[in-house]
């Protein structure tokens, strides 16, 4: 009986992993071909947040993205943060599935992960762009760190911090174990 229960739990975890990775693969495939109009569901609220936090104004340019003429800065589909959305969603699903008992709990985990990942993506991406804006204006560069490298590094730092905070909060809320068995 214990073996049956463990098997069911393992099968449930596998089903969640397959669903999460399948959704991630589909989203990644969609993103690789998406234009600005296709990702407005992420770009538009992100730009609103950036405008709210920085005071900068962005105009929507059809098929291109959002452009700030004052800062000469464009928020294009590559800045949409879809990769972060995929990472956050998969991390929550894969990392927390062991806390679920039963199908309903697993469905709730996937739905809550999608919502939390979307909300965190908006905040993380807006924070990344809001910080990138003054760096861009100042043309920040230090030694081997060219402006492009500074932009990349700043993005990785913001994304990792937000991902860590999201995951730490989620593990605390769900009471997940701090390690897992291979």
């Amino acid at each position: 009986m214990r073996i049956g229960s463990a098997w069911r739990s393992r099968a449930g975890d596998t089903a969640v992993a397959v669903a999460a990775l399948g959704a991630a693969w589909a989203l990644k495939a969609f993103y690789s071909r998406a234009g600005a109009d296709d990702v407005r569901w992420v770009l538009a609220p992100t730009v609103r947040l950036v405008e709210w936090t920085t005071g900068a104004t962005f105009e929507y340019e059809a098929h291109q993205g959002y452009l700030s003429r004052d800062h000469l800065y464009a928020i294009v589909p590559a800045c949409a943060g879809i990769n972060f959305l995929i990472v956050a969603f998969c991390s929550l699903c894969l990392g927390l599935t062991h806390t679920c008992r039963g199908i309903l709990a697993r469905v709730a985990l996937v739905a809550a992960s999608a919502l939390a990942a979307y909300a965190t993506t908006l905040v993380a991406n807006a924070a990344r762009i809001a910080l990138a804006l003054p760096l861009h204006d100042a043309g920040a560069a230090w030694g081997p760190l060219t402006p492009d490298r500074v932009h990349c590094a700043e993005g990785v730092i913001v994304y990792c911090l937000c991902l860590g905070l999201l995951f730490a909060t989620a593990t605390r809320v769900t009471g997940a174990r701090h390690d897992f068995a291979l």
Partner: protein, 104 residues
């Protein structure tokens, strides 16, 4: 008795590594498999991503393994014979937090 579903010596891996591995998978492995690895810009991106995310994950791991701070230090009342005072015992019992629960 150990059930067959839980082998005796299974290696434990910190959960913190899950988001890091997924992050590297999505930002480095997937593009590399799609041919991005041939460009010079990808190598730069990979070094920055691996270096920063790796350092931050190690910091996170180190913070998680930090020994818990005990309230005993701030309320220590030691009797002449070396025994801990009443307030000390209460502080130890009331000490909350995940880390402390392992100690008491």
């Amino acid at each position: 008795m150990i059930s067959r579903s839980e082998p005796r010596s299974r290696r434990r891996v910190p959960l913190v590594l899950v988001p890091w591995i997924v992050y590297l998978g999505v930002t480095l492995v997937a593009p590399a498999l799609n041919g991005a690895a041939r460009s010079e810009a990808f190598a730069e991106h990979a070094i920055i991503t691996l270096g920063i995310s790796g350092a931050m994950t190690m910091l996170w791991l180190a913070a998680g393994r930090r020994p818990p701070r005990r309230r005993l230090d701030s309320t220590r009342e030691v009797a002449p014979n070396g025994a801990l005072g009443h307030r000390d015992t209460l502080a130890a019992l009331n000490c909350s937090g995940d880390e402390c629960s392992r100690d008491f």
